[in-house]
């Protein structure tokens, strides 16, 4: 037995390292299954994985990403981009010059402008403007950078979400989290490198392709964790199999696999052995992760988290716990910001409700990360797939249509200039007039902050080198500290 046993970790590591020469992806695969420092340290005198990539690209400013995806498209005009002129013109038909040759999901060309009913004021030393809808965020406005000049290409929910996540409007390309874990791996030993959490009344439109790995190996796809019950599909051992029996099971499988590794000489068997070891560790680490009762009452109160039911607040707290455990990319989806102006989708009570769900936890996350010294290396992004029109919709209540020309997002932490307001829109909030940031620019910037050059992080598929930013993207230097 002993001779088969002893070298197993070595063999596994060597297999991974041997693959390193084929590119970044293999390094990342290795580090998913092996702590990155240990991966290379065990086999050579070279630097750990992160250094390998940094040498290839640019210095990293952040190690992890938490993307708070506000599904449905939050209204920037109610939250971040005050427009006195729009209020003055409230109820008038929008000038034709704005809407010539434009297409909307539902609006007609003669729609009337809608001034916001919300009050804005300046906050903190930076004097950032945030509306009354988000009082907690206003309280940390010196920590965040608000981008008022975001722009995207597509105006339907599904395609626009794919565009924000994968850089392309149709499904099937790798998502940002997949690209990043492919590029630099993950430091999580017992958890996947890319985790997705969800809250709100329903799942985001488009579903799993939003966190898919596209043509990259499935190793890099986002793994959805459920807020209720077992967090991962099939995480629980079968009925009647306790932890001891499961451990015995894994040992037997791997003993036999190790023998087969010797017989065949195929390193894939070594990877299989490592997969079973990590699966077994995940069976205990994932439930431990999800158990927020380990957190102090103070922390739970800060987030507004409630052990008894899943919520955006719980997910924000889980995001911090995931990043603490080395998970590279955490994405939180919260629905539904699609405020067209029907009952239940108006910019009145419905907006208040969703702001109430999101405001405190998001602000608490920033404060918590800062207090723990993690904010410097964690990039937090808040925003949706697009924004909403300056025109109102002719429905029963206040509402706006999808708007792709200009919308707002905010970012904080890892390399982001705190207290910054970037970009400016015209008097109606229709088009950016300064520092337009296209979705591909945002993606290029996120990669850059993680130490990756968006032009170099490519993958050959169907005869072409693909990248997250498709054929566009410029790093937004002004956003960085």
């Amino acid at each position: 037995m002993q001779d088969v046993h002893a070298p197993r970790i070595e063999t596994t590591r060597r297999h991974f390292f041997r693959d390193c020469r084929v590119g970044l992806g293999a390094i990342a695969l290795g580090s998913l299954l092996n702590r990155d420092g240990g991966l290379l340290a065990a086999t050579s005198n070279e630097q750990p994985t992160r250094s390998v990539v940094q040498a290839a690209h640019v210095p990293a400013r952040a190690r992890n990403v938490i993307f708070l995806f506000m599904a449905g498209g939050p209204s920037q005009l109610e939250l971040f981009d005050p427009k006195p002129e729009l209020q003055r013109l409230d109820g008038q038909v929008i000038p034709e010059s704005y809407v010539k040759n434009k297409r909307f999901a539902f609006l007609k060309k003669d729609a009337k402008l809608l001034g916001t009913r919300r009050r804005f004021s300046r906050h903190g030393e930076s004097g950032q403007q945030v509306s009354e809808c988000l009082p907690h965020l206003a309280g940390i406005s010196d920590e965040i950078a608000i981008v008022r000049s975001m722009a995207t290409d597509v105006f339907n929910h599904g395609p626009a979400k794919f565009f924000m996540n994968t850089g392309f409007e149709r499904l099937g390309r790798p998502s940002m989290g997949a690209w990043i874990t492919y590029g630099i791996g993950s430091e999580a030993e017992d958890l996947p490198g890319f985790v997705v959490l969800q809250s709100g009344p329903r799942g985001p439109r488009g579903g799993s392709p939003n966190w898919g790995s596209g043509f990259l190996p499935t190793t890099f796809q986002g793994v959805p964790f459920n807020g209720k019950g077992p967090p991962i599909l099939n995480l629980r051992s079968p009925e009647g199999i306790n932890s001891n029996r499961q451990a015995e099971f894994i040992r037997a499988v791997n003993d036999l696999n190790r023998r087969h590794l010797v017989d065949t000489g195929d390193p894939e068997v070594a990877t299989r052995i490592a997969s079973y070891e990590m699966a077994f560790r995940m069976q205990s680490s994932a439930p431990e992760l999800m158990d927020i009762s380990q957190e102090s009452q103070q922390t739970l109160d800060d987030y507004g988290a409630d052990r008894s039911q899943p919520s955006f607040a719980n997910n924000c707290l889980l995001a911090r716990r995931l990043v603490e455990r080395g998970v590279r990319f955490v994405q939180l989806y919260h629905t539904d910001w699609d405020h067209h102006g029907n009952q239940g989708t108006e910019l009145e009570g419905s907006l208040d409700k969703i702001c109430g769900e999101v405001d405190q936890p998001a602000a608490a996350l920033i404060k918590d990360l800062k207090q723990r010294g993690m904010l410097d290396e964690t990039l937090v992004i808040w925003g949706g797939e697009f924004g909403r029109t300056p025109q109102g919709e002719p429905r029963d209540y206040l509402g706006r249509d999808h708007h792709i020309e200009a919308f707002s997002m905010w970012m904080a932490g890892g390399g982001i200039q705190p207290g910054l307001t970037l970009g400016k829109t015209d008097d109606l909030g229709y088009y950016p007039v300064e520092d337009r940031v296209h979705v591909h620019d945002l993606q290029a910037t996120v990669l850059h902050l993680l130490g990756l050059d968006h032009l170099k992080l490519t993958y050959r598929f169907q005869g072409r080198d693909f990248r997250l930013t498709d054929v566009g993207g410029h790093v937004v230097e002004k956003l960085m500290s």
Binding site: P159, G207, R272
Partner: protein, 843 residues
Amino acid sequence: MPRLLATLVLGLFCMSSVSVSAAVDGAPGYERDIRPLLARHCIACHGSEKQESGLRLDSPAGIRLGGDGGLVVPAEPTEVEDRSAADNGPSSSRLLRAVSREDDEISAMPPEGPGLSAQEQRLLTAWVAAGAPLPAPSEGGRRTSDHWSFQPLQPPALPAVADVAWLRNGIDHFVLARLERQAIRPSPEAARQTLIRRLSLDLCGIPPSRAEVEAFLADDRPAAYERLVERMLGSPAYGERWGRHWLDLARYADSNGYTRDFAREIWKYRDWVIAALNADLPFDRFTIEQFAGDLLPNATLDQRIATGFHRNTLINEEGGTDSEQFRVDAVADRVNTTGLVYLGLTLECARCHSHKYDPITQREYYQLFAFLNNCDEPKIDAPAPWQVADGVLERRDELRAKVKSLERELAGQEKEFTARQLAWEAKITPEFRATLPGPVQASLMLPLDKRDATQKQLVVELYKKSDDAREAFPLVAQIAALKAGEPTIPTTMVLARREEPRVTHVHRRGNFLDLGPRVTPDVPAVLPALPDGSEAPGRFELAKWLVDPANPLTPRVIVNRYWQRFFGTGIVATENDFGSQGEPPTHPFLLDWLAAEFVARDWSPKAIHRLIVTSATYRQASHARPELQDPANRLLARQSRLRLEAETVRDVALAASGLLSRRIGGPSVHPPQPEGVFAFTQDPKPWEPEPGDGPYRRGMYTFFWRSSPYPALMVFDAPNGNVTCTRRVRSNTPMQALTLANDEQFVTAARALADKLMTTGSADVNKTIELAFQTCLARHPSAFERDRVRELFESQQRSFAEDLEAAQEFSGLPRHDPATATAAAWTSVARVLMNLDEFITRE
């Protein structure tokens, strides 16, 4: 062990010594070397969009013509000139001087960035020195190319080899000749039990039964292997296995995709594919029926069903979308799929601009688009033959006519109906309302005159279901009863002739709103022309052209993909890119020989499959040979170990357990899946396991929702069905371990296998372990394996004996049964074997 370690370590630092480009040598070629180089560095400023200094470097004509500054490469000598008199030296080429960046007179190019590498400079210089050979501008309106895959197919002669005893058929000549050049011996033939499992998995996608293995091992007459091959090629499971491969290419799924992702009915197409492969329908017929079966004279229902191939595109049903945009996307997908599946060309690159690397212009893309832009897309009845014979269609039509007349009668009572309905609405309780679907609730909230037509209809339908409506209007109940009695006739999605043809234009920059010049259907000029006299060619002509023996790409691409299924990697590793950016073939003559055989054998897929599996090359053992430094096995000095495809992973578990249903075809099924699958989709999807053998059908029959596919399939890299998939990746992840170890379906299989072991096994534990290995792996255990499994069995038996409740839960047997702990322990054994790497691998 130390030797293994040493060889692995050796592998660490050595790049593969198998140079793929060694297959082609000589002077740099325009398509292979020069065009990509110019595309990389030059055409952003000297291409179709910008022509700085009046120079275009994106076509041979432009390169010949030069720019404002004159010729960039030496002019070709005319016939009267003596070639030696022409100055072909590098110093005469403006192109070389510019890229050298060291010329005083000519600006350094490219002006920004790192410029050409030393290797690229050398290539360019060598090309110019050779006279800058460019493809002839045209021959009878056709473009010529020096790229290998565009050359006509000419069957090569079999190369001579030294070790003729090793040869089994033509394939082996090519493989062995290559090996002998490097003085490498092929691997020995795999053990018989390995061969039968390999063959069974490759041809039928299910493992051999124990009886089959025993019969094969006992068959010592000559040609036992060949007989086995024939039996498997004749098995109905062959059509399922190879049908699933084709469905990957066809992007088959059971729902419409995008965000709403409603269910669709097109399984009749899937069943047509299975039947076609089982019947060994020649590949040219197979293609023509799928592109244009409806256009054949006296088209049969089956031929119409076949056109579902190009109906597997996505349909967007999200509110507020532009339907033309998504229709255009679907047609583009048909063009792209045709390119990747048949031609091995990445046509999609030419949707927005002319292809940067391959000789396909944007105009040619839209000429191909035009072939496929002219069909209607109906849904048709696809009754089973017995339904036709039974007159079910007529019965259904009569019944519908009856319903229609009753509905007209009911409409005569509209006034009373509406009054009564409003009275009923007034009595609806909030509790009842809350149970209704969202849109119905919203409609109810509106006063009658504020409801649009759809909303009105929703409420009317709701009211018709009420007792009140049925009492007051007997017609309502009558109509409902008639409708409930309507026979179910399957439908399927097909292509149909469009009476008023659409006009196709170039879409500038791929934008369907920005129409460029009008185009008519035609094929790329670099490939053989359509036959003369094809006026107004359409889908039928396109299909005929794809499978014309003169087409150099289709037979090469198809046999290469067959090869890939049997060896893991194609002879051309980039199975969907036979263009200049793809890899050249490792065995170019073998590829051409196989392609020529395919055409010569009347495009019979089974003939090529038979040829491959009966070769000595295929029959080699798959043990690693690290000393060859060929980890990707491009030399074919052995077989490859291949992890099974997602559906097959499921099928081997069900087959080993004895649960597998062998029923072929029919509507897709919903085997049990873990809870929480729909937590992340926009709308939860219906998912109700069918009774009977529903949970035990082969993986390929699992209902496929594009937005939330069956997790146990996806975790093993099943394709997403959104675009064509010409090769699946083979990942190896912890999520796969969790699925095999814990998923209910796999635990069920382990229990069933344990049950089988206990009923057919003997009292001797070792003998039962033998049986378990034979059932799962088609071989005997080694002494180590037997002892290790026995150790597990005994330990689990002890553990369960002390915890009969757990034993009951795990084994599913009653707790008071004394055999429960034993059953649980055997279930553990079964579970271990079904989790082995070998179990889910074709060795």
